[in-house]
Structure formats: C-alpha cells, structure tokens
C-alpha cells in the first residue's frame, strides 16, 4: 500500500475543456478518499490521471514516493474498478481475475491459489467458470472488485463502482466495501456523485466542482462546517436551506427572523444556511417565523415539509420533522431555527464566514 500525491495537476482536453485545475491532493497510506461532485466536475478525470489513462497537462503525480507522471498505466501498479465493470466478455471469471497476474508472469500455481482465495473472499468461487454474460449485476460487480483485489496493488481506484446496482444491492455492497477497506487496509480513491455514499465511506471527502476541490475534510467536518455555499448545498439530504440576508452594524437581518442577535464579522450581504433537521416546528408565538405548508414528503423516519415563508417569496424552506408529526398542506405553521446550527456565507465569494454563535 502506498501514498498518492498530486501536485498542481491540471488537465486541459484538446477541445479546450479544462477538466482539472491546479489540483493538489495528498492521499495517506490506507486512506479511503472519496471524490464527490456533480457530473462533469472532473472527478473521474482525476482518477484516470492517477491510473495513467490520461496524461496531465501540467503538474506531477507521485505514487508510493515514485514520480509516475510520465509512466504508462502498465507501470503504476494501481488497480481500477470501472463504472461499467469492463469485464473481458470472452474470458471466464477465473481468466478475468488471473489476467493481470498472468501478464505479470506470476507462477501459475500461485495465480491459481490467489484467484481461489480472492473468489472465496467475495463469494464468487462457484462462478469461476462462467463468462460475464452469464452473471447478474451484483456478481459482475464482485468480479470487477475481485480483479482488482487479486493483484494486491499499491492502491485501488474505484470509479462509481456501485452506480449500476439496484438500490438494495447498492446499500449492501457499500457496507461490504467499507469492511473490505478495513480488512485490506488499502489506499483507495473512490469517485461518486452520490453524497451519501461519500459521507458513509470516506475517511476524508473531497468535494469537487469545475475541476477544483472546494473542500477536503473528514465527512462530519464537511457536514458540520461546509467551506462554502456550494459544499453546503451539495452535501446533506434533504439539501440545506440557503437564502440571502444582510449584516448591518454587526447584527444579522434575515427574512424570516427579522433580527437575530448574532455577531457577524463584517457588514454586507450574506447567505444564511440552515439544514432542514436544524429547524423545529413550534407553537405560535415561540418561533422565528411562520409559513404555509406547500408539500409534505414522508421519507420514512422523518417527513420533509416544504414551507412558503413570509418574506421569502420565491423560495420554499425545507423542514425535517419526525414522521409522527401531523402536518397538513395549506396549514400555517411556526418554526424556530437552531441558533447554534446556523451557517453564514459571504454572499459575494460564497466562502464560509467566521462561525456564528
């Protein structure tokens, strides 16, 4: 296992599209780093740069202390799991697993033993003589994982490995991946567009947008202290409420709660953020504001209520309430924001402002 370092790596495609901008990233030994972001943010390109399938336009890539920037993929000793699985369709599962070892001229008896051991660990030992066309989606996914594991590489690169599975299977496989990471103690880089996957799997999470890492931190840190408006809106489900407000003379003026006693560093327009779970429905008179219920979405343990709030005409405020709360559409409700869970961002730059209390 090894560390992976990217130093000011940029990737500009021939058509002029800048996929990655001046990216510096250090992945520690044994870490599972998740790259998450909307489609087109450059996360898959980062993975392909590390694998050697793309050449960086500038910058350096170091794997295990060795500069591999100009090395082809064959010499990098990393394994990759593709979103499409990319199993060799004309080879059996056994041959798929053995291929990389055979290419590396591993002793045939040794190959056989390692393939069997890996297959047993993944529960696919009965499928070894089948071809990919005869496997279910989950079995193909395991085979793709097995093909990576059997090599015992320096690092694993996983490109949306769960996105082709149905939801139930996806959750189960996610847990297995976490177990696998712990058991192998392997360096892994995991690309996904699913923020929930990122939060549950990552040792650290890098949120990317337009080729830039917007924030790199442990999952809870990202959830609790998003570095900017983009991260705040991208991470968390249902998404954080964000609306414009104003700071004058050190006092925050936000629409639903007219004046909240809060110290804010500098005057000017701000964006205020509060997660749906950090808003409570209260009795009339206790709240910061009121609104009419527009939509009620039961999602199991909680219900998400969308409110049309006085003073915020063009935007609905999402509130997560316990599922046993009875709320009806068109009802007028009163709510209160948890003061210690408010996020303030600079309206111009979008950056997080000093924590408010």
């Amino acid at each position: 296992m090894a560390t992976i370092g990217l130093h000011e790596v940029s990737k500009v495609f021939p058509n002029g599209h800048i996929a990655v901008r001046q990216l510096t990233l250090d992945v520690e030994n044994g870490e599972l780093l998740v790259l998450v972001g909307p489609s087109g943010c450059g996360k898959s390109t980062v993975l392909r740069l590390i694998a050697g399938l793309e050449t960086p336009s500038s910058g350096r890539i170091v794997i295990g202390g060795r500069d591999v920037t100009s090395e082809p993929p064959q010499n990098r000793d990393v394994a990759m799991v593709f979103q499409s699985y990319a199993l060799y369709p004309h080879k059996t599962v056994r041959e798929n697993l053995a291929f990389a070892l055979r290419v590396r001229r591993v002793d045939p008896a040794d190959i056989d033993a390692r393939v069997k051991k890996t297959a047993a660990a993944l529960g696919i030992e009965t499928l070894l003589d089948r071809k990919p066309g005869q496997l279910s989606g989950g079995q193909r996914q395991r085979t793709a994982l097995g093909r990576a594991i059997v090599r015992e590489p320096q690092a694993f690169l996983l490109d949306e490995p769960l996105s082709n599975l149905d939801p139930v299977l996806r959750l189960g496989t996610r847990t297995e991946l976490a177990l696998l990471h712990r058991r192998l103690n392997a360096t892994m880089i995991y690309v996904t567009h699913d923020q929930e996957e990122a939060m549950t799997l990552g040792t650290r999470v890098a949120v990317m947008r337009q080729g830039i890492v917007e924030q790199l931190a442990p999952p809870l840190e990202i959830f609790r202290r998003p570095a900017n408006v983009f991260v705040a809106g991208f991470v968390g489900s249902p998404a954080m409420n964000l609306w414009p407000a104003e700071v004058t003379q050190g006092r925050l003026k936000a629409a639903p709660a007219n004046i909240m006693e809060m110290a804010a560093a500098s005057d000017g327009p701000v964006t205020i953020g509060v997660r749906p779970h950090d808003i409570d429905l209260v009795a009339q008179g206790d709240g910061d504001g009121s609104g009419d219920v527009e939509i009620v979405e039961p999602v199991g343990a909680t219900t998400v209520v969308h409110l049309r709030v006085d003073g915020l005409a063009d935007q609905l405020i999402r509130v997560a309430v316990p599922a046993d709360t009875t709320v009806r559409v068109n009802e007028r409700v009163y709510f209160r924001l948890r003061r210690d869970r408010l996020h303030l961002f600079d309206a111009r730059s979008g950056a997080r402002m000093t924590d408010v209390r």
Binding site: A79, Y88, F99
Partner: protein, 269 residues
C-alpha cells in the same frame, strides 16, 4: 401488405437463384442438347463437362493458383488491416484523419486506369507471372476495405475494456491480441470473407499480370476456355460451378460467427 412483401421477396429470390440453377443444370447437360433442351426439369444428366474440365484441361492448376492468391491476400489484409485499423481507431497521432482519407482515396482509382502503370512496375520488379505480382495489387484494393471495416468496428468497442487491460499491466500489443482481436472475430470474419470473395473473383489484374496457364487463376482460365471456332459452354459452366463452391462453403461456415453477439456481458447496457 404482408402478402405483397412476400411476393416481392419471392420474386427476388427466383431472380437470383434461377440463373444459378440454370448454370448447374447446363453443366450436367450433354453438349449437343445445350441449345435444344429448354426444360428446367433435368433429364439424361452426364458429368462429361466436369470430366473434361479436370482430365482434359488441368483445371486443378487455376484452382490452386486462385486459392494461393486469394488466401494470401486475405491473410495479409486481415492481419495488416487489423493492426493498422486499431492504430487509426485508438491511438493519438498527427495526421490520423488525412491518413484515413488517403486510404479511402487509394481504393477509388478505377482498376482499368492503373493496369498499365502496375504492369510496368511489376515488370521492373520482376513480379510478372508470380503469385506476389497478384497479391500485392490485390492488397491495394482489399486493405482499404479491411481498414475501413475494422476501424468502424474497433471504434464501437467499449474503450473501458482496453483501459482495464492496460491498468492490469498489459501492453498495447497484448491488449490488441488478447482483448480486442477475440472480440473483433465477427468483424475479422466479415473482412476476410469480403477480401476472399474479391480476390477469388478478380479478373482484370489476373488477366493482365499472368502470362501462362501455370499462373492463371480460375476466372482467367474459364475466360480462356473459348477456342477460335467454338465456345465450350458446358465446360465454362462446369468451371463456374466449381469456382462458386469454395466461396459458398466459406460463407456458410462463417455465417454463424458473424451473427453471434460476442460482446454481450462486457459492460452494462
């Protein structure tokens, strides 16, 4: 509507099959009855024409020549075509698009316009009346065909497979050999059949660049059956039937391989 289509399809089939049937029947009809018997129902069949073909004329030599020339052309154009097409489909290099256009342009010259220059060239190279003297000109026509067919096929193979193989440690060549070519078998078979058909049937070059019966190919040999005072139609048709056989056998043998969807299960969707 459906009935009309069936009728049209039937008509086409008859139009294609009838001349073939006629040729087969004529080849086993005695010479003296060829132009008197217009019945489609065969009777009084003889193998005289075939006997004359192989005993009287040594038809084996042109068959052997054709097999060697068409076989070599097919092997070379599939092998070289696959490698060239893979490079054109997957590698990044300067002048790729012009190269493809050039390959196509080469095949656009009318054959008759290059016969004379090719004759002079082959004479200088002392390749007239040799197998090489036919295989080389055939390649100029079959390679563009092979390259264009295979480039199209390689481009639609999922690139992930090759990426996976290279991350697994395989070189480009090994990836081509172990991953791409096995998956390209249907396309390779199609290319091989078309190339073989073309080289087997080719007449103009074969007529111009061979000088004696020891190098005649099947079409040339059949064309030269015609004597000064008579045309031996029976033998010509027997020769045509014999010439059709290997082609028919190859097409039927390869048909299944062409249809089989070999890439199923590689990637989702």
């Amino acid at each position: 509507m459906r009935g009309r289509w069936t009728f049209a399809a039937g008509l086409c089939t008859v139009a294609i099959v009838l001349p073939l049937l006629w040729a087969v029947l004529a080849s086993v009809t005695p010479e003296e009855r060829l132009f008197t018997n217009t019945s489609l129902v065969p009777r009084g069949l003889v193998l005289d024409h075939y006997r004359a073909l192989f005993a009287g004329r040594d038809f084996w030599t042109p068959i052997r020549n054709s097999l060697i020339v068409a076989g070599t052309t097919t092997l070379l154009s599939v092998a070289l075509g696959a490698v060239s097409a893979y490079a054109l489909a997957r590698l990044d290099f300067r002048g790729k698009t012009p190269a493809l256009a050039f390959v196509l342009a080469v095949s656009m010259f009318p054959q008759i316009s290059i016969v004379s220059p090719l004759f002079l060239l082959l004479r200088e190279l002392r390749l007239l009346n040799t197998y090489g003297g036919l295989v080389l000109p055939y390649l100029t026509f079959s390679m563009p065909l092979a390259i264009w067919l295979l480039v199209g096929f390689f481009r639609q193979l999922p690139a992930d497979l090759e990426d996976a193989a290279m991350v697994d440690g395989a070189s480009r060549i090994r990836t081509l050999w172990e991953i791409v070519l096995p998956l390209a078998r249907p396309a390779l078979a199609t290319t091989a059949i078309l190339t073989f058909l073309y080289s087997w049937n080719e007449f103009l070059f074969a007529l111009s660049f061979t000088l004696g019966p020891e190098r005649y190919t099947v079409p040339v040999a059949i064309a030269l059956f015609r004597g000064q005072y008579q045309v031996p139609w029976g033998e010509i048709l027997a020769g045509a039937v014999v010439a059709t056989l290997p082609v028919a056998v190859i097409v039927f043998a390869a048909q299944r391989r062409i249809i089989a969807g070999l890439t199923s299960g590689a990637v989702k969707g």
